[in-house]
């Protein structure tokens, strides 16, 4: 800044000074209370006129007690939530290398078009004759998804990846029951490296989950799968590329063995972003796969949702797809909502017709890239991950040896062992350097896992700075500079938070503190 004499101020000796402030704020790092502490029940930020007197029709069910909801005026609301937002890391502020989560750029065009009144302000149950453009968009998006995956059908209604898993596994269960094998095929095979949602989904549908042991190279052994398959197996659930960032190279053999054994192949498509335009799951023998529109197709993660998880299906599962679905016939395009028009359908998975707001965003992303751009995006994501791998492999250890990876690179903590530091310590030190840590302690098959996914959205300069930072941290760890790690983070809005305390005595909502004695 400039002082009144228009001379630059200098930091001088104040650079190392720690100041206790009156407000507990630290310059731009502003403390902010809860709305329950700063709001008041009688304040409102919405101007509404009291209705003229009328005879209510509530049948005596009027609410009697106060609700306990504070209000804020509009400027107070803006300030409160802007201050909260400033306590978050985001893709827009920096590289966000969460493996398996795909934190790529979220184009703002997508936000703009999703807010067009013709998409945002239409009701799911207004007459179909008044929403032809919406139906057309869903049909177009479905065409893109089927073409990219080489599959025969797509169920558009699942609301997130895990909901898509439910959809795909229900379709498999319905197909098995249609063959009269519902009682005998009770087992689902899943590798140890699977996302937690896979076994949770299978168990929820009444299947028994049996694990496929990991092979030394981090992929699944087709011979081992063949050994586990039998007349009691309903399906195999496999992520490809897998959660170690590797392409399952025996996938064709695994798919064939699964089909020959009368079972179905569910592919977790969380990592489809690595292979779009490079290969098609339909050509590999997949029967069902969900696509996370919020990963591969850039709809924003939004701090944990909303997502969307359409499921592509093979011809042998297509008849069992959930309702509602689109049908184009001599009368044009329409939404089939009646279950009696779809005798084999597994039924309805949620109210209405799916995550339209996410469809518009994903479709805008696909149109912007085009077939050529999507392929380039996959290649850049894979190239960037390998660039990081090749730039860190001399300092950090990899559980399955140094070999080319797909869109994410997996390290373990073997190299950290001698330092006495943990993966968590290393991750927290990354926060002080201005980075969101990578995914840690997942997949479970790597000890102290660190899974790094840079995505295609980073420039080379950004990747180089990240690599240089990681190298500096790794060397500091090796030199035994443990204080840089054990106390981290120092520069975040909060120091390390006590998760044990939170779980031991759960405080899940604000309650008015007892009055303090004067």
């Amino acid at each position: 800044m400039l002082n009144r004499q228009i001379r630059a101020t200098t930091a001088g000796d104040s650079a190392r000074l720690e100041v206790e402030t009156f407000t507990s704020n630290r310059g731009l790092a502003l403390e902010e209370g809860l709305i329950f502490e700063i709001g008041r029940a009688e304040v409102t930020g919405v101007d509404l006129d009291e209705p003229a007197p009328f005879e209510p029709r509530l049948g005596g069910l009027e609410r009697k007690d106060p609700i306990g909801l504070p209000g804020l005026s509009e400027p107070e609301t803006l300030r409160h939530y802007v201050r909260l937002s400033q306590k978050n890391y985001s893709i827009d502020s920096g590289l966000y290398p969460l493996g398996s989560c795909t934190m790529k750029h979220n184009p703002r065009l997508n936000e703009a078009v999703a807010r067009l009144p013709g998409f945002a302000d239409i009701h799911p149950l207004q007459p179909q004759s008044t929403v032809p453009g919406a139906l057309e968009l869903i049909e177009d998006l479905a065409h893109w998804l089927m073409t990219l995956t080489g599959m025969d059908a797509v169920a558009m209604t699942p609301k997130a990846g895990a909901h898509g898993e439910v959809c795909g596994m229900m379709a498999i269960k319905a197909a098995i029951e249609a063959k009269g094998e519902g009682e005998t095929r009770r087992i689902v095979l899943a590798p140890d490296s699977a996302h937690g949602t896979n076994p949770a989904t299978a168990a929820r549908l009444g299947f028994e989950v049996r694990s496929i042991p990991a092979r030394a190279d981090g992929t699944v052994d087709a011979a081992e799968v063949e050994r586990l398959l039998g007349p009691d197996v309903a399906a195999i659930m496999l992520t490809n590329p897998n959660t170690c960032g590797l392409f399952e190279k025996e996938i064709v053999e695994i798919a064939a063995a699964t089909r020959n054994a009368g079972a179905y192949f569910y592919c977790d498509g969380a990592n489809f972003n690595a292979i779009m335009g490079k290969t098609r799951p339909g050509d590999l023998g997949v029967d069902a796969m969900h696509l996370n529109l919020h990963k591969t197709f850039s709809t924003p993660h939004g701090g944990g949702g909303p997502g969307a998880g359409p499921v592509v299906l093979s011809g042998r599962l297509a008849p069992f797809a959930p309702a509602p679905f689109l049908r184009r016939d001599e009368n044009g395009l329409r939404l089939v909502e009646r279950l009696d028009e779809a005798p084999y359908s597994l039924g309805r998975l949620a109210a209405f017709h799916g995550q339209m707001g996410m469809f518009v965003r994903a479709y805008a992303y696909m149109l912007s890239h085009g077939a050529d751009g999507l392929r380039q995006a996959a290649e850049d994501a894979v190239l960037s991950a390998n660039y990081i791998r090749a730039s860190l492999n001399d300092l950090m250890s990899q559980p399955f040896g140094d070999r080319p990876c797909m869109h994410e690179v997996l390290f373990d903590d073997a190299w950290l062992k001698p330092t006495g530091l943990t993966t968590l310590d290393f991750a927290k030190a990354m926060i002080d350097e201005g980075y969101h840590p990578m995914t840690i302690y997942f997949p479970l098959v790597a000890h102290g896992a660190m899974l790094i996914e840079p995505t295609e959205s980073e420039s080379k300069a950004s990747l180089d700075l990240f690599i240089a930072t990681m190298r500096d941290l790794a060397m500091a760890a090796r030199r035994g500079e443990t204080e840089r790690f054990l106390g981290a983070p120092v520069y975040a809005p909060r120091r390390r938070l006590d998760e044990t305390r939170a779980a031991r005595n759960p405080v899940l909502k604000w309650t008015r503190p007892p009055p303090q004695p004067v």
């Binding site: 502020s93 895990a162 996302h195 050529d372 909060r494 120091r495 899940l508």
Partner: protein, 446 residues
């Protein structure tokens, strides 16, 4: 391509550093005959202007709710959303962050979730609420599964006033899991006797209020029966604004509450994304599905928030988890929280009174049309009318006259002999002119 920062030169330099001949070297694990040799048969890249033009064209083919007198509800409601809500949820730090796995740099998300949980608990009159579910229908399924876990019984009894999409969703899951669900016949006048349906195998009864036909239901007597018979009472709502005016489920003895939060802060979006609200009595805390945010302290003793009790969840418990759910409805839950903060108690109560007043006025206007009968004794902002013709055809005729007049019951419950019924909703966005236009169009269409 405008979203890809790497240049050809960057790519060459990076390949050189890696020591790879070309990017295809990284894809060598894909069986050679399965690699795509050429670009797929899909359009090539488009500029922002082209995409914008194309999608604007598709959007323009649809009739937006705000462009006509609009009375469609049945589980999704058009309300006014203050401009600041949409501005705030588009802040980069909210929009482009992930689930708060690193709490030190996600206090913004965690604190609003804590505020959301507190608001939902207050609104529903329950002890605890989670960080949201996908929507009301899937929250209802989760509530049923939770009741099964708690009671060790596996049969759900579904009210005939439960939104048919919700009932179908529960039925899909119970069929797949081998659990039982008994759906009562459509209960237009809220006269069913649910207590009599509870037997020794019943884990829960699921009742909606206001129900899908708009009736308000006093759940207290049913709560007593549930208690006596060892079943849990699951209360459902699809119109969260109603809770500003009517007795909340918690005050009527509900054990678990599942509801749709769309109508606060969230657009219609043709059915999604929405936000499921989920709350329960404290004693069932450890059986609650989904994310929970809790208060704690940091290393300097300052208050902070973290995701907690995650030993219930799939990423820890895998096949033993309470649910397979991973995501919540983040931004939609933030929109709910911001809109609710703007409203505050005073604003929410007034908003609810305006909704009720507008619906009462509309019911009186439509009831005065010859041949039209309003069936409800009680309602909040939605009610059922009987018309002297096919309801679905009438709704089409009204649409041609530029009025979106509601949802024909036959669309939700086909083949049940309810083809002459229409669900009609009226919120604060409807003006007296809109309501007069509806009554006039109805006269003309009959």
């Amino acid at each position: 391509m405008r979203y890809l920062p790497l240049t050809s030169e960057d790519r060459s330099d990076m390949l050189a550093r890696i020591g790879a001949s070309g990017v295809d070297a990284f894809f060598s694990d894909i069986p050679a005959e399965k690699r795509l040799a050429q670009t797929l048969d899909l359009p090539l890249r488009k500029s922002e202007m082209e995409v914008s033009r194309l999608l604007s064209g598709l959007g323009a083919k649809n009739t937006a709710a705000g462009s006509v007198p609009f009375f469609v509800g049945a589980g999704a409601y058009k309300h006014h959303i203050p401009a600041s809500v949409d501005h705030l949820i588009q802040r980069s730090e909210f929009l482009t962050s992930y689930t708060p796995y690193q709490p030190e740099i996600a206090q913004g998300t965690l604190q609003y979730i804590f505020e959301f949980q507190t608001q939902v608990a207050a609104l529903t009159g329950m002890d605890v609420a989670n960080a949201s579910m996908y929507d009301g229908s899937t929250a209802t399924v989760e509530a049923v599964l939770m009741a099964h876990r708690i009671t060790g019984k596996r049969k759900a009894v579904l009210s005939g006033g439960l939104h048919p999409h919700y009932a179908e969703t529960v039925r899909t899951f119970s069929h797949m899991t081998g659990d039982a669900s008994t759906a009562l016949p459509p209960d237009v006048f809220a006269t069913e006797n649910m207590g009599a349906m509870i037997d020794a195998d019943t884990s829960c009864v699921v009742v909606q209020t206001p129900d899908v036909f708009g009736n308000l239901r006093d759940l207290s007597p049913l709560a007593e029966i549930c208690k006596a018979k060892g079943a849990l009472l699951i209360a459902v709502f699809t119109e969260a604004v109603s809770l500003g005016l009517v007795t909340p489920p918690g005050a009527m003895g509900a054990d678990i509450v599942a509801g749709e939060g769309q109508s606060i802060g969230n657009s219609l979006n043709f059915g999604g994304p929405y936000v499921g609200l989920f709350a329960a009595k404290a004693r069932y805390l450890r059986q609650i599905p989904g994310r929970l945010c809790g208060e704690t302290l940091d290393a300097e003793g300052r208050r902070g928030f973290v995701l907690t009790l995650s030993t219930r969840e799939q990423h820890i418990k895998r096949d033993k988890a309470t649910s397979n759910i991973c995501t919540n409805s983040g931004l939609c839950c933030l929109a709910f929280t911001i809109h609710m903060t703007l409203l505050g108690e005073a604003g929410l109560r007034r908003l609810a009174r305006i909704n009720h007043a507008n619906a009462v006025d509309l019911a009186d206007r439509l009831g005065a049309v010859s041949g039209v009968e309003v069936l409800n004794k009680t309602f909040f902002n939605e009610f059922t009318i009987r018309v002297p013709c096919d309801g679905a055809e009438l709704i089409e005729r009204l649409a041609e006259k530029g009025v979106l007049g509601g949802v024909p019951v036959s669309r939700l419950l086909p083949g049940r002999g309810l083809d002459d019924l229409i669900l009609v909703a009226s919120s604060e966005v409807n003006t007296p002119d809109d309501r007069a236009a509806y009554a006039q169009a109805l006269r003309g269409a009959l």
